[in-house]
Amino acid sequence: MLRAVWLTIGKEFLLIRRDRVGLFMLIVAPIAVIAAAGFSLAKVYGGLTASRGGYTVAVVDEDHGAVARAILDAIGREPGLAVIRSDNRAEAEDIVRRRKLAVVGIVIPKATTDAIEHGERARLILYTDPVKYLQTIKIELTIADLCRQVTAGAADRARKQAVEQSRGLQDQIDRARASAQHARDEASRLAGDTASSRTALAARLHEQVETALNNARDRIKAALGAELDRIQRKLDADAATRQAKLDELKDYLNRLEAAHAQFENWFAQLKGLAGSHAADIPPPPSIPNLPADLDLGALNAGPVGELRDARRNLLSALTTQPINIDLPEVPAIPKIPAVDIPHMPVIDSSLSIPGTLGYTEVDLNGNEIGAVGGFNAFDLQVPGFAVTFLLIGMLMGVSLALIDEHDWGTLERLRSASAPLWTTLTGKLLARFVVGFIQMIVLFAAGWALFGISLGRAPAALMMPAAAIAFAGSAFGLIVAGAGRTRDAVLPVGAIVIMTMAAIGGCWWPIDFEPAWMQQLALALPTTWAMRAFNDLMIRHLAASSALVPSAVNFGFGIIYTIFGVAIARRRFG
């Protein structure tokens, strides 16, 4: 049986390859429709494809003031707007409503600048075409943002002036505070200098007094020394004279002492010679001995030693002693009190001048993209119409092909040839699933190459919802084939069902355009889940995991469709 399935798949691919109309519908037709829809709706969604001059506005300048110039400059810088200058309101209204040359007419009333400059309310007047509702909303958003920019610009200028004045005053205060501080610093420095000078003066006085004293001392020392030297010399001379006399005396004494010893010796020898008569010899007169402690040197020592001591004592008395000079204290310079100048509060713009509340969109990379952002319309149209044409392909490839096989009789022949119906259905579904999957990949690749669509953070993740919707779509084709009796019945019914599913499911416009009840209803459609996954991946740039649930839901739809489709097809073709 697998052989039959495999052969059926091969046959299906052969049929698809030969079916030029089918191939056209698979690839070329979707790209053509995508291009038409994408370029048509680019203005609505904004983004890369909204070229300069996308919308035209007529402008009447009655103000001729700075505000008008600012508005005109802002409009001129807006890439999506082209301007027709109009002379008066009637002409502007005519341009918009009758001649349809502009989507919106903008009147800048007289004295708008004055009103703005004086803080009064000013309003622009717009002429619109009710038929061009979406374009008008888009332009009104742009104009609102431009007005906000102009108002914000004026407020910014006023705020800037106030801030500058505040800063000037603050500068003056700061300078005064700096001057006071400088004075304080100078006074402190002067006090410091005075104390230093006093100390220096004391030191100098001390030095001079000490020098004078030292000089006096030196002179006294010198005079005293000279006199003492003279006395010393006199004494020394006297001492020398005395010493000489003493030396003579000492020499005499020494000779006397020696004569004494010789007398003794002689007397002794005389007694010896007197023998027995020695005793009869009368004793010689005694010659006294020199006293043992006789120090003749000491007789000359007295006055010189005294003089030496006197010299030492006098010089010692002349030794320098610390001199304390107590200068009277210099009266302190009173401190200059701190000048307490309060800080001038910087004028805060949000407090001093009411600010302008605006907004800016931040893109997925965190970059600000202005007040009226958008996205590449093809990011929506490529997956949307890829899904739509995938379903159309399934209608033709599964539903009509099964009916054709039935009508041609090939189904009958296959069933008589040991190929049960399920092998044909399985082969056909598998082949169409593969073709649908490839179709999605080719259309996304074409969208990327031709229209610059975003493939998100993980392009490979796009294959997940693509496979899921291809599976659900092919299985849904089986249900349509089983439900329709003839080709003529299947075509309109299938087309209506597919178009409805695509529309409600958000394939052609963002699902958020739809009322809440319809969005709830859309949850029962595989197109909704497919678009949710594609939008998450391509436009919201979410992670690949964001496509898991929608893809799982669509695989679930596919399984349910397959069960019902096989049951219906067996009743229809079995």
Partner: protein, 317 residues
């Protein structure tokens, strides 16, 4: 498995669609080498019978044996011996003739090589050997019919069922088709040939089964069946206005035959002799405003069918 009995055997087949009885107790047997014609008007039940015999639809009751295999009990074996040539052109118009043959041949279990060899042989047999690589959608009706026949005979089936295989074909294609069928029968194939062309049945079939309103009304050789209609010559007349019942009263040797013709004011009579033709034509012209067409012929299967069922094999003359 050797089967000495009929290759195609239907036993008391019955089929209802709601209250309508489509097939009511049909029993048919076709032996090897035999061509049996299933002859009846449109809506008689021929296609339904063949569908049940080929396993495309299941009978409410009854039994089908193909080469001895019960189609309900052993469908795979029975189908391997079965070749169906459906009334519709069961071909893929965007494939070439060769691609069609290869696909159906392989689906019947042939290897790629066998399928290719057999396909080339059959293209030769049906006179399409020079068109094998052309898309079937570009073929004439007769070429498609021949290819349709070839697709049903790729795998040398023992039992071949053909459902009006010559509808809308030119004489040349018809001749080719007959030749292939006769060749298959000569090779031992058991062939059940459904048609509402009595000439084809007379020309091709060994036996003929007349079927009407889901019932077999008679079966036998063409000679046996024609004999049921008698031997008098028949006159069929088409007039501008309808001829009322009894319009030929008074003309000796003439008896009206009641039949059903859907789109034309036509009448049929048996004649005792051909001498009565001028009188009958004149009377028909007077009553029916004008005689548009008339034909005198010997009794055939049409007459036999008319006699047995009271209405013509075909909707018109």
């Amino acid at each position: 498995m050797t089967n000495s009995g009929p290759i195609i055997e239907a036993q008391d087949l019955r089929k209802r669609y709601g209250d309508r009885v489509a097939i009511d107790g049909v029993s048919i047997a076709v032996n090897a080498g035999e061509i049996v014609g299933l002859l009846g008007p449109n809506g008689a039940g021929k296609t339904t019978t063949l569908s049940m015999l080929s396993g495309v639809i299941a009978p409410d009751s009854g039994r089908v044996l193909i080469a001895g295999h019960d189609l309900a009990a052993s469908p795979r074996r029975a189908r391997m011996s079965l070749g169906l040539v459906p009334q519709s052109l069961a071909l893929y118009p965007t494939l070439t003739a060769l691609e069609n043959l290869l696909f159906f041949g392989r689906m019947q279990g042939l290897s790629s090589r066998d399928a290719l060899n057999r396909a080339r042989g059959l293209l030769e047999e049906v006179g399409l050997s020079d068109r094998g690589d052309d898309l079937v959608g570009e073929f004439s009706g007769g070429m498609k019919r021949r290819l349709n026949l070839a697709c049903g005979m790729l795998h040398f089936p023992a039992a071949i069922m053909l459902d009006e295989p010559t509808v809308g074909v030119d004489p040349q294609s018809r001749g080719r088709i007959f030749a292939v069928i006769e060749s298959a029968a000569d090779s031992g194939g058991a062939i059940l040939y459904s048609t509402h062309y009595m000439e084809e049945a007379e020309r091709l079939c060994n036996r003929i089964v007349l079927i009407d309103h889901g019932k077999i009304v008679a079966q036998g050789t063409d000679t046996e069946l024609i004999a049921l209609a008698g031997t008098e010559p028949r006159l069929e007349i088409v007039t501008k206005k309808a001829l009322p019942r009894g319009w030929s009263n008074g003309i000796a040797g003439v008896s009206e035959i009641t039949w059903e013709v859907l789109d034309e004011f036509a009448a049929a009579l048996t004649l005792a002799t051909l001498d009565q033709v001028p009188d009958v034509i004149r009377r028909a012209g007077e009553i029916g405003d004008e005689v548009v067409e008339f034909r005198v012929h010997r009794p055939n299967l049409q007459d036999a069918f008319l006699k047995l069922t009271g209405h013509a094999l075909r909707d018109a003359l």
